[in-house]
Structures are given as C-alpha cells and as structure tokens.
C-alpha cells in the first residue's frame, strides 16, 4: 500500500464507485439497472477528475479582478475534461435508454437473457 491512500480519499471513493458501477453492469439482469451502473461508472470517473484538479485553498478558475497568477486558481484542465465527459455520457445514456424502450416494446421484458431466449425461440 502506498503512502497516499488517506490523502487521496476522494480518488479512493471514486475507485470504489467505479467498481460498484462495474459490478452492477455484470450482475444486474435488468437493463435499466445496467444503464444506471454505467452512469455510476462515468460519475466515478468525473469525481476522480474533479479531485485531480483540486488544489487546497484555491478557487474556481474564473478570473476575478484581473488577477491572473497561478497561485489563486485551481487547475482548469480537469474541469474542462469533466464537461466534455458529461456530454458524452448524456448522449450514451440517451442511446441506451432508447434501445431499452425499443426492446421493451417488442419483447415486454427488460431482462437481456430472457430476450435472447425469446430470440432463439423465434429461431431467427
């Protein structure tokens, strides 16, 4: 175990969250829950990124009173990455949900294995 586990508690939480999302993805049979698992994973990563940008005692990088010294602001890059990442995850979630709707209207179930079984029964 390295020296910084407790200093990096935010990252630690995000790591655990990531794995919770991962487990959801593996174990849940309900598609909606799977999607939630995916979202948890994504959020964990954004938490991780946000933690990366933080510097103790500094403020968000919006220039106030014309002060542009590095001492006053936190790192802006992770914030930007999080913004981009959120848009990506919104798009993906929308796509997944619409796929789920489509499957549900057709097979009236949210269980992927059951859908496979039905498909095999159709023999197509």
């Amino acid at each position: 175990m390295g020296p910084n586990l407790f200093a990096n508690y935010g990252e630690a939480v995000s790591a655990i969250l990531f794995c919770i999302g991962f487990t959801n993805l593996l174990l849940q049979t309900n598609l909606i829950k799977k999607i939630i698992g995916l979202n948890i994973m994504d959020s964990a990563i954004y938490l991780f990124l946000a933690e990366k940008g933080y510097i103790t005692g500094r403020v968000a990088p919006i220039v106030a009173d014309g002060v542009t010294s590095t001492e006053s602001y936190i790192n802006p890059i992770p914030s930007g990455l999080v913004l981009t990442g959120i848009v990506v995850s919104v798009s993906v979630t929308a796509l997944m949900l619409s796929l789920t709707i489509r499957l549900y209207t057709r097979y009236h179930t949210l269980d992927l294995d059951e859908i496979s079984t039905q498909l095999k029964r159709e023999g197509k």
Partner: protein
Amino acid sequence: MNFICNIPFFSILLSLFSGTVCSVLSAKAAKIVNRVVILAVGLMSAILLLYLLSTGESFIYWMGHFPAPWGNEIRAGVLEAGMALFFCIIMYLSMAGGAHKLPGEVVESKHNLYYILVNLLLSSLLALVYTNDMFTAYVFVEINTISACGLIMIRQVGRTIEAAVRYMIMSLLGSGLLLFGLCIMYDLTGHLLMSNIKESVGLIVANGEYQIPLIVSVALMCTGLCIKSALFPFHAWLPDAYGYSTVSSAAILSSLVSKGYIFLLIKIIYRVIGFSVFNSTRMIDVLFVFGLMGMIFGSLSAIKENDVRRMIAFSSVAQIGYIYMGFGMGTQAGMVASIFHILSHAATKSLLFIAAIGLTDVSGGSRRFADLTGSAYRNKWAGVAFTAGSLSMVGVPLFSGFISKLLFAQAAVQVEGKMLASLIVLGISTVLNAVYFMKTVIRIYTATTETPYEGITFRHMKAYAVTLVFFILLNVILGVSSQPVVDMIGQGLAMFA
C-alpha cells in the same frame, strides 16, 4: 508549411461536416454526398501518402493557434496516411457492394440517417488515425462506438437491437476503462498530448517512481481497447451484430471499426507509452495468451455454426486473435505482421461478407448451409469472390492471407519463448480455417438438380460484381506485391518513435 499538410485536417473536418449536411438532405443526395466524401478523402490521403513518402518525415499540425503542450494537435506519418487511404478504399467498396440491400432492410425515410452515421464513422476513424491527443482520441472513440451501434441497429430486427445493446454495454465498459486509464495517466504526467506524455513517462520510468499506477494505467487502457475490439472473451456481441445487420454495416464493422481501435492501441503503445516500456509491463503476455485463445476458440465456434454470416463473424474473432498475437510477441516484426494483418483481414473479411450476401440472396434469403447448396452456380460472381476470400483466409499463396501468415511466422521464429506456441496455434488455426471455409466452398459448388431458387446474371448486378472484382484485386495485390506495403509499415512505425 506545405499546403498538403492541411490534408489530415481537411479530411477529418470534411467528413464531419458532411455528416451534418446529410441530416437535411434527401436519401439520394445523402448517398451521393457520402460517396463523394469517401472518394475525396481517399484521394487526399493518397496524395498525402505520396507526399510523406517523398519527404520521409512525419509532421505535426496544430488544431488552433497554440503549440504543444497547450493546444490540440494532429499528426500525420506514412502509416497514418496509408491507413486513412486504406480505410477509405474499404469503406467505399463496402458501401458500394451493399448498396442494393439497403432499400430492403432499412426504412426509406431513414436512409439519410444511415449516411450520416457512415460519414461520422469515417470522420471518427480518421481522427483516431491522425490524432496526437489522448482525450481527443477518447471523444472520437465515443463517436465511433455510437455510430457503429447505429449501423448495427439501423436494420431493425430483434437480433440486431439485442446485439446493439450487448455491443453498447461492452463498448461502454471499454470506454470507461480507457477513460479511467487515461485519467490516471494524466495524473501521473500532467499532459494529454501523446508526445508530451511519452516524455514524462520516460522520466517516470527513469526515476522509478509511480511504477504501480503506471502499469495499472497501461493495463486499463489496453483492456478497454481490447474489449472494444472484441478480443476473445469479450466477443459475445459480435456474431449477432455482424450476422444480422445490413451487409454494408457488417463489412464496415468487421473490417474498419474494430481496426480503428486496434490502430489506436498501436498508437498508444508507440506514441504514448513507448514500445520498450510497454514490453516491460508484461501486458504483452496477456495479449498474447488471449490472442492465441481467440484464434482457436473463434475457429471452433465458426466450425459449429450453421449460418454462413455468423460463421464469417466468428472467423473475425479468430482473426482479431491473430492481430493480438502479433502484439504479444513484443517485437517490431510482430507489430509489422499485425498491421499487415489488419489490412489483409479488412480486405478479406469485407469481401466475404459482401460475397456471402450475394449467395444468400439467390437462396431465398436463407443463410443456412442447406439452402446455400449450389448457390455459387446461381450467382457466379459471388461464388468466385467467396472462394477467393476463403482461399485468402486459409492462407493460400498469392492471396493476402498467406503473406500475413508468413509475416507472423517469421516474427514468431525470432521470439525465443513464444515461438513454438504461436507456430503451433497458427497451424491449428489455419487448418481449422481451411476446414470450415473449404466446407462452405464445396457446399456452394455442389450442384443441386431441383432448386426452388432463381439465379441471377451479371446484367442485374453490375455494380455489385464490379465491387467484388475490386475486392479480389485488392486481395491479390496485397498478396502478390506485399513488399512495398510491408516497407511502408516499417517506415511508418519508425516515424512513430
């Protein structure tokens, strides 16, 4: 700066923009735009390739007003330009070869959406090929994933939607891992541009700090991309996705989408982590083992399959195993072999998909082998093309498959510990390939006296037949004069460093 250096930027933006434009066009116009864009990008890439071959140096292109490490960048070398050119060729041929199936399988009003997806897919592939920035790569990986998913489920039958869901779940898992690895890498180095990360990684390795996070980050990124490119244990979505989507989609997916990810992995190995650092992480052994397993299990599943298109799809699993086996050897020669196999497999697999559709069309749309009996007589061009593709897959000399197997074997001979394993598995896989492909070839050439299905003649499928001829030519060219291509790959890899 030479004006030609703008080509990577032009080709990415052109295909991106054409996607937007297609959203307001009619299906017919969108089709024309799509074809023209692919051709234009292909032409530009060819010019760029010639230019790069003549100068012999890669170049960096700023995306904006700021140099590295502040702004975004793209980068073009011989390998990138060659890949872009090749992707365009395959994409054009796949689109042309499957065009006649589109009206039957996709609702008329959604055709222009299809072309939007293809354009965006092209742009994302180009961006993956040219990018010099990890986060840009991530964003375009997502575009690639979503548009690929769209290509799978645009033909809306139960199987494709189910396959699309599985595909998305797997892919998003992969993206998540990739992004996580990327974040850790960013935390360790403080950069997002590939060249800068590589410098910092060099420093880190030299200083001996952060060893564990570095390895974990590399492992996460690799695993993410492996999952996305359907390496063996993660291939569950593949047969349905390739087997039931509309044929152009299947051809594009199998030959381009997964290859885009693999190419990104190559870029990461060379331009981000560094070849020697990557080899020292032992990640290559994992890739090697899974590659070998993929080669065998993919072929075994293909033998058991009773549906011709699913069989071809399973064979893709095996072929992706070959590529990862090449990575796993951890030598330059293995890498060259893998990259050549990317080309050869792309050319062959899309040919097989396109030819298979010609055969199933003259068998009442059934893909079961029983119905395919004698179909090569009903559609002679597709029969010949399927045979050519099969021969290439089996690795008969004069076709591209032989050369890639030769390169793999040559690479394997140079690696002390992995030689025997890779040669034996290569042999087993070749023989298994031969079994199921030749079985199919014999099947389609077994004449039946009474058949309920109509044949088709050249007059009714001119475009299709011409496409097939081009595909066969591409295969034979790769098989006969492979040396220039191999040289180019070597040169491109040298430029990577």
